[in-house]
Symmetry: C2
Subunit: 421 residues, 2 copies
């Protein structure tokens, strides 16, 4: 006995209601903030884990707090596993869709396959990663790195703004950092990794298309910059005797912007976080700390930009009598998506009667880390005005439904291939 297939409209409405419910789980009342291993992260695991179990999935939490929900294979000897996932952590003051859509979309795609009475020759596992955004610790993509056996143990020593070590936060969360190796998924048994995600950029909207197949994920480097000068009284230290760390940073920020604008390969360069010490209105800043994020669709433009920024920062600091320290926290090369899985996504998009467009991803995603071990691919869903990492982040629920229907069809396409294997 099977239920009728849901329309994309219905799938979209259902997805939206779950997204709305998850958005209410936050560390900061009034806005959406769910950082890695926070109380809201714990509550989101309870909520999403409940949705998985209601739909017959078997859940577990891995040693880095990735929630895994497994549907067994219906047929086949020694079946392999198809991984589907994204993340449930968010930036500070986030929107409702970034990451969460990939997890909820995966759960609803499996529910839909169940409703339609379809059988799969592989197991499917939904992965809800907890550390994609890298907001709390300088350790982006650590959850998906653990799944691929590329977790960097020095991350465990990193501290958040309150001085809490990542290792301590994991233990407080009920996880066991000593067992991180057991989070690794054996590639031999994995068919591939699929992730659906909002585009977070303006291109699909510009083309008038709800869906697009991702060709590659932009390489990304994240750094910390520290400039040190000399604090002093804002009323008595003459302008020409100052060693103002913030004025030096201001020059560097404008340099970063200019280098970003001049770059090729869809280069973007951003200073998003600044802390000024001592940080009082009547004191010349003696020290500043700031973040730097540089990305491009290919490696060369990114590496060239990083060299130019480091050279300019050094020159500015020298001229101003400041010292400068640059520390590279994340350095991920450009990551091409798997050709075979791209084609499976492409066939599903075409089967929906939609024009097929392919595009690179400017944002980093768990699929970057997953691609180290597994054939990986992503499907993008149109974002309104390209806005993301912002409460105004929005996609038409119909687009969400079309994305989930495309995921259902991609899974069925892969099932056919698996039977022919």
């Amino acid at each position: 006995m099977t239920d009728a297939a849901r329309s994309p409209e219905d799938l979209g409405r259902l997805a939206q209601s779950l997204l709305d419910e998850l958005a209410r789980v936050t560390d900061e009342p009034g806005r959406i903030t769910r950082t890695y291993l926070s109380p809201a992260h714990a509550r989101s695991i309870d909520l999403v884990g409940g949705w998985m179990r209601e739909r017959g999935l078997t859940t577990e939490l891995d040693p880095v707090a990735t929630l895994r929900g497994r549907r067994a294979a219906d047929e086949g000897a020694a079946p392999r596993t198809l991984l589907i996932g994204s993340h449930i952590d968010t930036v500070v003051d986030a929107g409702k869709l970034d990451g969460t859509l990939g997890v909820i979309g995966g759960i609803l795609a499996l529910e839909e396959i169940e409703r339609r009475g379809l059988r799969l020759p592989f197991a499917v596992e939904i992965l809800a990663f907890g550390d994609e955004e890298g907001v709390r610790f300088p350790s982006a993509l650590s959850s998906s790195s653990a799944a691929t056996g590329t977790y960097r143990r020095e991350w465990l020593e990193a501290r958040d703004r309150d001085g809490v070590k990542l290792a301590e936060a994991l233990i407080a969360f009920g996880c066991d950092p000593a067992r991180i190796e057991t989070a690794t998924i054996d590639p031999a048994g994995v068919l591939g990794y699929l992730e659906i995600h909002i585009e977070q950029g303006p291109r699909l909207e510009h083309w008038g298309l709800p869906l697009g197949v991702v060709t590659s994920i932009a390489g990304q480097t994240r750094m910390s910059m520290t400039l040190t000068g000399m604090a002093g009284h804002a009323g008595t230290v003459p302008m020409d005797l100052r060693r103002d760390a913030l004025a030096g940073l201001a020059e560097i920020i404008l340099g970063v912007e200019r280098i970003g604008r001049q770059g090729t390969g869809e280069l973007v360069a951003t200073v998003g976080r600044v802390q000024v010490f001592p940080g009082a209105g009547n004191t010349v800043p003696g020290r500043v700390e700031a973040s730097l994020d540089v990305r491009a669709a290919a490696d060369t433009p990114r590496l060239v930009a990083l060299e130019r920024i480091a050279w300019e920062a050094g020159r500015i600091a020298e001229r101003r009598g400041l010292s400068v320290a640059l520390e590279r926290n994340v350095d991920v090369p450009t990551c091409p998506m798997d050709e075979g899985l791209q084609e499976a996504f492409a066939r599903a998009v075409v089967s929906l009667g939609l024009d097929l467009r392919r595009l690179p991803s400017g944002a980093g995603h768990d699929a970057m880390a997953m691609a180290r071990s597994f054939p990986s691919a992503m499907l993008f869903i149109r974002s309104k005005a390209g806005i993301s990492h912002n409460p105004l982040e929005w996609s038409d629920p119909l687009d969400l439904g079309l994305g989930i229907e495309a995921l259902v069809r991609t899974i069925l396409d892969l099932a056919e291939k698996e039977r022919d294997r």
Copy 2:
């Protein structure tokens, strides 16, 4: 029976030991931070109040938490009062001398007069103000404003970074904001206000002199700047579509620096505090808040600089598609010191065998507010390398002792004049 007069060396050593003890009273272990109405402010009132009472002064706390220690007059009918003071609040990560020296110096000068068995024809009141630095609330000089009846009631509605209103903080401190009027000191009964303070600048050191008489206090304007653009994902919003509030602020900071350098009349212009929202490394900043502090030895250069900064900020914001809001929190005109009290300080300096030099003050001081009601004057003590608002703030203890001895002689000089009155 009288004790022998202490030498400037001994007075300096004694002052240094009290300064060291007060420096241990802090809200942040490992560095000196005592902001208005904080737990450390309360403990510093207990400590300094104890020193006052041990020396026979009668203490009280006024409705804005100014500690007042009074020595009655020894002679004369209907005696007037000489006010001596400075502040015991500090910037974040402060030195030991700024403000505290004026309070401790006043207490030790009275002790010395007592030891020498000298009699005064006026009462003396030592005022230890609590809100000079304006670090916690945007309300600088509020304590001394209350003493002159020029307290601005809107300060009571101002909030600190944790959202606590100044009025609430006063009540929690045991003060009664409804009684602020009773903090006003009647000018009719006041002879004048004296403040000794470290220079916080490099001029006395340059001249090789331990003491200098202040001619005027630089006018000062403090503003808050808010720039609003559009937050977005650092990987997907192309450089030419960004409305990055921090990049706009960077341009303004460099404009402030340039205008400061080009100005006349010892103009200084400082951005000392910046907050970025949402403040994550992978998000284009949507909003920034920053402080602006502009001072000069005369009003015109300061007002011209403010107009130029406002015009440039508006032009930068317009070009970048940002909105800008500038709010003036403090606006104090240049404040000349009282001629008669300057001469009393000058005679004391000369009587010590020192060359007499006069200089303007680049920093704001409680004497600015006190001058609204009372003849007021300041004596500066040499600062090493002009460093202040910094843990490296330092003056030779001998210079401190010379400053206190000069204060003793100034009080005695005024006593003679008062008897002739």
